[in-house]
């Protein structure tokens, strides 16, 4: 591994000062499950790793019925799924953090890190998209909010500028009669990278028949995770039926721009988008009816 410096600032301002000083030769270290492997394998370079885990703000995990969920950028997966309230209210997020890696990864890896790594196949990002997450970014010019679907700009690249870091994710409180689900296709049962991942969320009317709001997010079918509003819009007309799911799945397939690689070719990925979108919607609907 190439040599680098290490700093563990205790405040956001200290972290920002380090990131400003070192520019793109500084990398943020949260759970380390991506960055340490990447630096060791020469896929990313760093003169400095900034360990943010001693900063209180990035360790926040707090739900408020009016504000929603505040999820600090360095909170590891296990803290999220071990919280019963969050598990009940944000089922799509829980699906994602429960299937990332194995238990050793979940003990360390954070949702914020998964997002900042900006892999097109990141499991938590479609889940964050369907839960309407916004990213709190802090930098030398102060704070800004970025919708999560706009955070990744290319494989491995984000909107973060020099000196900026992701502080927390804010997920609004779930709407009434809300359900969400994330699932992926992998050829193994565990410890794999999504060939395709799909998240879906639906909110139903009082009678729990019509869809009043929906989100569909896709992973591993484009350079960045995708929000597909036109697929969600196809669910809005009349009481929900399987034919709505067929239309939404077809529109999701049309929005996908997959490549062929060692995990699957483009045609297979497009096929999976259709299958998984319908499955994600069925489970989201079932969960919405149970709330």
């Amino acid at each position: 591994m190439e040599p680098f410096d290490y700093a563990a600032p205790k405040t956001l301002n200290e972290a920002i000062a380090l990131l400003v000083e070192r520019g793109d030769r500084a990398r943020v270290l949260a759970g380390g499950t991506d960055i340490i492997v990447q630096v060791r394998e020469g896929r990313r370079h760093a003169d400095l790793l900034v360990d943010i885990k001693r900063i209180p703000e990035v360790n926040i995990l707090h739900y408020d019925p009016r504000e929603g969920l505040r999820l600090g950028a360095a909170v590891p997966c296990y803290r999220i799924y071990e919280d019963a309230d969050i598990a009940r209210l944000y089922p799509g997020l829980i699906d994602a953090v429960s299937l990332i890696g194995g238990i050793q990864i979940q003990s360390r890896a954070s949702v914020g890190g998964n997002l900042c790594n900006a892999s097109p196949a990141a499991d938590t990002v479609p889940a964050l998209i369907v839960h309407e997450a916004r990213c709190v970014v802090m930098g030398p010019a102060g704070q800004r909010l970025v919708p999560v679907e706009e955070f990744c700009v290319a494989p491995g690249r984000t909107v973060l500028g020099r000196g900026e870091l992701l502080v927390e994710l804010r997920l609004p409180p779930p709407r009434p009669h809300f359900g969400a689900h994330y699932l992926r296709f992998i050829p193994r049962n565990e410890m794999d990278i999504a060939v395709v991942g799909v998240g879906a969320a639906v909110a139903l009317d009082e009678r729990r028949e019509r869809c009043v709001q929906a989100r569909i997010g896709l992973a591993a079918v484009a350079p960045t995770p995708l929000l597909v509003p036109e697929a969600a819009a196809a669910l809005m007309d009349g009481p929900l039926t399987e034919s709505h799911f067929d239309r939404a799945a077809a529109l999701a397939q049309a929005a996908a721009r997959p490549i062929s690689d060692l995990r699957g070719d483009a045609a297979f990925r497009r096929h999976l988008v259709g299958v998984l979108t319908k499955r994600a919607l069925r489970t989201a609907l079932q969960r919405a009816r149970e709330t």
Binding site: F4, A7, E14, G32, D51, I105
Partner: protein
């Protein structure tokens, strides 16, 4: 055990710049006279970074405080094996996928290969050695012996540590839950069937509070 410190295309050679940085001179200078930080609050200063030369650290390993000096790039796995001679955790994939380096950090199973030694300061680290403290074999390791749940044995320390972590978290875990908790460990000899026998006995025993 003398693991290679470096592998991959960079090799062990140091450039002149890296040598200067490694000597500590350049690092100290830039840290002290770096540009004033235009952070959100004017009084925020960049704290002094450690490295890239060796940093003295103290780690708590299997209940003992151990002191050494490591460069920031040294992982917890390499610090344990090569600096502290705690060799229960094994280096196999070195990229967070095989589980042979599993240790318990404050009771949570983690991959020691994807954590820096510096990050582990202030945490309680347990390795496979803790499962034979004072010459008494832990029930998990004893069950692996009884059911011959290893062949070459190189993955075994990772498996028994991950399994101990899972049972500590939930002493009433079902065999299926234990198997899920071991998803991050791989045995290339394929001794999973024997492990299942060991797990079945452990789930029975721990459930009764033994």
């Amino acid at each position: 055990m003398n693991d290679a410190q470096e592998h991959g295309r960079n090799g062990p050679g140091l450039s002149r710049r890296q040598f200067l940085k490694g000597s500590g001179m350049v690092a100290a200078t830039t840290a002290l006279v770096g540009p004033a930080a235009p952070a959100a609050e004017a009084d925020a200063k960049a704290p002094v970074a450690l490295g890239p030369g060796p940093v003295k650290i103290q780690l708590t390993v299997n209940g003992k405080k151990m002191t050494t000096a490591v460069e920031p790039r040294v992982t917890l796995l390499d610090a344990l094996r090569n600096y502290l001679d705690v060799t229960g955790c094994k280096r196999v994939c070195d990229r967070g996928t095989c589980g042979a380096c599993t240790v318990l950090l404050d009771g949570k199973p983690i991959y020691a290969c994807t954590m820096l030694a510096l990050e582990a300061r202030g945490h309680d680290i347990k390795t496979a050695e803790a499962l034979a403290a004072d010459g008494r074999l832990d029930a998990v390791a004893a069950a692996f012996v009884k059911y011959d749940a290893q062949q070459c044995g190189f993955c075994t320390p990772g498996f028994v540590v991950a399994l101990r972590g899972a049972l500590d978290k939930n002493p009433k875990a079902s065999p299926a839950e234990i198997e899920e908790a071991l998803a991050g460990n791989i045995c290339r000899c394929g001794t999973y069937e024997q492990m299942r026998h060991a797990i079945a006995e452990l789930c029975g025993k721990e459930g009764k509070g033994a």
